[in-house]
């Protein structure tokens, strides 16, 4: 499935997202008078480019705060990029202008917290029918049958339509959220930590549901998670993010078995393993230091302060993405001779 020829199905072209601080009037006055008011923008995502082929599943991995959710939300058309563009099949996901709005139903999103992502006052049936009826994917008269069909596809009883979200467990709610997204008949699904808030016993069921549906509906997916094992299970390709940028991208097998970027290696080594070596629990190496502030990213390579291999040039030159294997690229000076 990876690397199909032809133009990319999803093209993310050098998108950045900066969040300006929301200053109150008082803070603005204080700032003008020389007070210590934070006026720098948070650079959540910095100049990211990506391509996805139709039917591909891209895993997006990184520590919390690395910008993976922000990137996902820009692909899903929830956040407008500050600069750059996201297109699906050549058509932009969001309209331009001063008040950008999402124009397409082809990309839908699954949120992390299934307790928060369903309107607590709306019956499941109404919540699922709302979008399809508004976009004429189903006539109002046929909405009940349409909703029942989608509930069955995610493994729920059609009777669920009559009930409210609080009457379901976390796993069931996430199935409902999946049904709601799929009822819009999207080509692309952006899943933001879709199993992170579920019990471990339920996670596997929901993940397998994703894989089944992806095959049945030939979905293209962006799967965001901080959990390396989960991402490996579902992804064709994996992108590793660090401080708003992608540092390594490649087929899942190469990333996990032959990581190139020092950050990817550190990330893989930092996963606690429960496997026993003799009678001793295998140790793991946490990554030294903290994620730098996205308010003031370090110059040069964003990872150089925590990198065990850092060289002098890492401090002032930003490394570019360069191929390090088949379809495998990483942004690191040390991997390049010179």
């Amino acid at each position: 499935m990876t690397g199909a020829a032809g133009p990319p199905f999803i093209a993310v072209t050098s998108v950045s997202k900066h969040f300006d601080p929301q200053l109150s009037l008082g803070e603005r006055i204080a700032g003008a008078l020389g007070g210590a008011v934070e006026t720098r923008a948070v650079r959540a995502v910095q100049d990211v480019s990506l391509q996805l082929a139709r039917g591909e599943v891209l895993g997006l991995v990184g520590e919390s705060g690395c910008g993976k959710s922000t990137l996902g939300r820009m692909i899903a058309g929830i956040l407008p990029p500050t600069t750059g563009s996201v297109t699906i099949d050549g058509a932009p996901v969001m309209s331009g202008g001063r008040h950008p709005r999402k124009r397409t139903t082809r990309v839908q999103m699954i949120f992390q917290d299934p307790y928060a992502s369903l309107d607590p006052r709306m019956r499941i049936g109404d919540a699922l029918a709302e979008g399809p009826v508004a976009h004429r994917l189903s006539a109002r008269a046929d909405a009940a049958a349409y909703v029942a069909a989608w509930l069955r596809k995610v493994g729920l009883d059609p009777d669920a339509a009559q009930r409210y979200p609080h009457q379901f467990s976390g796993g069931q709610r996430q199935r409902i959220a999946i049904a709601r997204a799929l009822a819009m008949r999207p080509d692309v699904l952006v899943c933001d930590e879709p199993v992170a808030s579920l019990d471990v016993s339920i996670q596997a069921q929901v993940l397998n549901l994703f894989l089944e549906l992806r095959r049945a509906l030939s979905l293209t997916m962006v799967f965001i998670s901080h959990h390396l094992g989960v991402v490996r299970h579902v992804s064709d390709r994996v992108a590793i993010m660090y401080l708003g940028g992608i540092v390594e991208i490649g087929p899942a097998a190469s990333i996990y078995d032959d990581p190139q970027h020092p950050y990817t290696r550190a990330l893989l080594a930092s996963v606690p393993q429960l496997a026993l070596q003799g009678d001793v629990v295998a140790t793991f190496t946490p990554i030294a230091g903290e994620l730098p502030s996205p308010l003031a990213p370090p110059p040069g390579c964003p990872f150089h302060q925590r990198c065990p291999l850092a060289e002098p040039r890492c401090r002032d030159q930003v490394p570019e993405m360069r191929p390090v294997g088949p379809q495998h690229a990483a942004a690191c000076h040390v991997l390049q001779p010179g």
Binding site: A116, S117, E130
Partner: protein
């Protein structure tokens, strides 16, 4: 309706507070009395031709020329006070509830729209609301009632202008909280029109605090209307509300004819206290921090 509908769960919890239940019964009884006043009242207090001056200022229990007992006495024009109070309640409840509903709709829409839109429009709307909240409601209502003149609609308009800001403030706070929740983001990313998201998702979830404000504000509107009528800028003399009945009897209060002012006052107090008791219980039930 299935047993798990939010309203039925709410009612099951409400039933457990005896005082609130009694207060609710009192409100229902008063509402019934007010609606059925023409059938219950022994006299039509608006029909000036039926008033007999020799019956004026009679104490409670007096049997008047009409042949029936004036249980609560009569006023200076010979009006049966029990009948006058029933008709007065009718007007007070009608005006209080109408003003409450209109203020609710206007205020909630303004506040929620401001929170949803954000940016400059939010600042403009909410600064205006803040400005108005810094003025006493009675002052604003008094000025408006004086400018607009007498009449039911004018009175409702004055009360709405004095009270919508409380709904706007509450709706703004609640909607700003709801706006940040995932289900709003999910609805916007479907995408659904902003109007749908605001009125079908955000506003229904802002209802609990708004209902609490509404009960308090209906009681306030009734009290405010009584105050304005007492001061003589409220309803016309031909539509005696409770406030005007109190005002009419005020001059006789110290001459021993207490009933002309006291009984309409008692009716007003019972109504307002009952509404506030129900409002307190509703607030306790809807406040997540007080959940048992």
């Amino acid at each position: 309706m299935d047993a798990d509908a939010p309203f039925l769960r709410f009612w099951a919890a409400f039933r457990e507070n005896r005082i609130a239940l009694v207060a609710l019964a009192v409100i229902v009884a008063i509402a019934l009395l007010a609606v059925l006043a023409p059938l219950i009242a022994p006299q039509d207090p608006y029909d000036l031709g039926r008033l007999v001056l020799s019956d004026a200022r009679r104490p409670p229990g007096h049997v008047g020329s009409g042949g029936y007992v004036h249980w609560l006495g009569t006023d200076a024009q010979g009006r049966d006070l029990f009948s006058a109070i029933l008709y007065g309640l009718r007007i007070s409840v009608l005006i209080g509830v109408a003003a409450g509903i209109v203020a609710f709709v206007i205020g909630a829409t303004m506040g929620a729209t401001a929170a949803f839109a954000g940016g400059r429009s939010e600042m403009l709307i909410m600064r205006f609301v803040d400005l108005q909240l810094s003025l006493p409601a009675i002052l604003l209502a008094l000025v408006l009632a004086a400018v607009l003149g007498q009449g039911r609609l004018q009175m409702i308009a004055a009360l709405v202008a004095a009270q919508y800001a409380y709904f706007a403030r509450t709706a703004h706070g609640a909607a700003a909280t709801e706006r940040a929740k995932d289900y709003v983001e999910a609805a916007l990313s479907t995408p659904l029109p902003a109007r749908t998201v605001l009125f079908r998702h955000i506003l229904p979830n802002c209802l609990p605090p708004l209902i609490v404000v509404a009960t308090v504000q209906v009681a306030n509107a009734i009290a405010l209307e009584a105050t304005l009528s007492f001061l003589g800028v409220g309803l016309p003399v031909t539509e005696p509300s409770l406030g005007m009945l109190i005002a009419n009897g005020f001059q006789y209060l110290l001459s021993g004819r207490y009933w002309i002012s006291i009984y309409p006052g008692v009716a007003l107090i019972i109504l307002i206290v009952a509404i506030n008791l129900v409002g307190d219980q509703v607030r306790d039930q809807l406040n997540p921090r007080l959940k048992r």
